[in-house]
Symmetry: C2
Subunit: 195 residues, 2 copies
């Protein structure tokens, strides 16, 4: 017989399916819920279901949206500057940096090993959007699949005679040089900026 009541066991199971949440943490969180007020728990439960009910994908940029996309439909954004990213999450991250252009979410990276070809990504829509774009920033992580995708996209974009760039690779702000690997350091020298 398990030491936990069934409903507690069920919640522990649900929590432990979340990324980065191990069994111990799931137990701690579930017992916290057990000790918290009924109101708080109902609000948490509702927040989960409401999220799934109200969020959809923007037909233009492929990012998460409620009702209408507040980026694509915002008149104050720079409409001819486009940042291409892998996931909707990346949109949220780059938004924090103060970027004011539009986004295009690929929904993944080209990965020959995993059988992810360009056709499986949101690239057709990108080609259509490029007509009204002056500059593209490829905001994709420096990795094997990331580099393949970046090269593939930059070829398409250059054919349209559009300025294209990728994010600089270098030393994160607040990090001492001694903690940086040599590949990143070599990138930071190649991407050096005149002052």
């Amino acid at each position: 017989m398990s030491i936990y009541p069934n409903t507690l066991k069920e919640l522990i199971l649900r929590f432990s399916k979340l990324p980065g949440i191990g069994k111990k943490t799931a137990e701690r969180l579930s017992i916290y819920i057990l000790n918290s007020s009924n109101e708080e728990t109902v609000e948490f439960s509702n927040a989960l279901v409401n999220l799934k009910d109200s969020i959809s994908t923007c037909k233009i940029c492929n990012c998460f949206t409620e009702d209408e996309c507040h980026i694509c439909n915002n008149e104050n954004r720079v409409k001819d500057l486009l940042c291409i990213v892998k996931d909707p999450t990346d949109v949220f991250l780059i938004e924090k940096s103060g970027f004011k252009g539009l986004y295009h979410v690929l929904g993944g990276l080209i990965s020959p090993f995993d059988g992810i070809t360009p056709e499986k990504l949101n690239i057709d829509m990108l080609s259509m959007r490029l007509k009204s774009i002056r500059e593209v920033i490829i905001g994709i992580e420096p990795s094997h699949d990331g580099d393949i995708t970046t090269i593939y996209l930059s070829d398409i974009i250059k054919k349209e005679d559009i300025k294209v760039s990728r994010l600089a690779r270098g030393v994160p702000v607040g990090t001492s040089l001694e903690f940086i690997d040599e590949v990143t350091l070599s990138h930071s020298i190649n991407d050096r900026v005149e002052i």
Copy 2:
């Protein structure tokens, strides 16, 4: 304007209220939920509400229970051996160690600084239960309030002529001595076991 849709913001808020979950983790978990299936999310949401609906407190041991307490009502437990703990969580921890007696959950520790007097804890019920008990183990953490509570309880229990002990303090299994503080080490010498 916030970068997140409102319902996503609401779920991030709910997650970040959980212990040990910071804003970044709350964002990551919420976005994971966003990407997971509707079914999984509904099950998670139900697990939260079901837990609160079905769990109550055992009138005898004060631990969490569904329907009837599966420890107090289990005929195979050692009925005259009682372990006193602070929280229901501690019951789950000690159960894992293979303890086969009964429990008594205090619901807190005596804390003069926080105004928690013995009257505010589940001690009246303990006195009633002691009549049928042969041995008591006080399973309370070694801390200022823990030690005050342990001494207070052991006085009550000794008056009833019942054998009483506390958990041994010492070196955790798998830990090298060099990582142990001197207070714990001194306890481990006092609590030494003849071999």
